[in-house]
Amino acid sequence: MAYADFTPAQRAHTKRVLWLMLAYIVVLPPLIWLRATRHIGDGVLLAMAIAAALPVLGIFASWGRYVSDERDEYHRSLTLGRIAVATNVTMGAAVVWGFLQAFGVMPLIETYWVPFVWVVVQGLYGCIEVFSRKGAQS
């Protein structure tokens, strides 16, 4: 689907996500550099960690607002389906990895990999949907 075919809610959501990703790209490198090169107190580190997380939280809030704003029921149901699949796959992966960690057979990892997996699964499922629709049409 080209950008011209997007619903108004999809366009607003895409713009919000692009701005938030830009904010993330701008904010994260200096924070990592500061952490690596300077001795910083816990209070500032806490503020830095939250500052790095805020654009990602904004992306989740944008998804919520999109679902609320979308007037096209078909597009909304597609999005809800993608969210459901991404959440189930991510939670499944988290619980499997969690037990492997707990029983000491896999290493511990940072929890921000969980939203990363969620975003990747949602994108992959979206691609599968597009290709399966094209396959059905041809």
Partner: protein, 138 residues
Amino acid sequence: MRARIRTPAWKRYNWRVVWLSLLYAAFLLPAVYGFKHQIIPDPLKYLVAILPAMPIIGIFGALGRYLVEEQDEYVRMLMVRQTLWASAFALSIATVWGFLDNFGLVGHADGYWIVIVYFIGLGFGGLYNKLTLGDGGC
């Protein structure tokens, strides 16, 4: 209004969750005992660690199946809202915790905690439904 929420699909979902929870306990207790007393041979460790995760994944499957089977659109909408709140809550907590971990302020957390946070998020979603629509949902 509670009687309306107790649809046949909701009852089936509850029974599935009860059986899966029993299965979870049946897998978890021997696994914990086996790892604690180091009686599990190395080739079986991955299998025994993953087994308790399977019923939890089954609960996510039951949740998905419930959304497909539910015929009452209002009750389904309540559950969809709950799952959206739960997803946003769990992914946000995972993001913040991940960055706090990355900046050395908190320790690593086992991945299955995300799932616990998700179920707490389902409770928050129910509370939000209750406050905004008067019905808590499932």
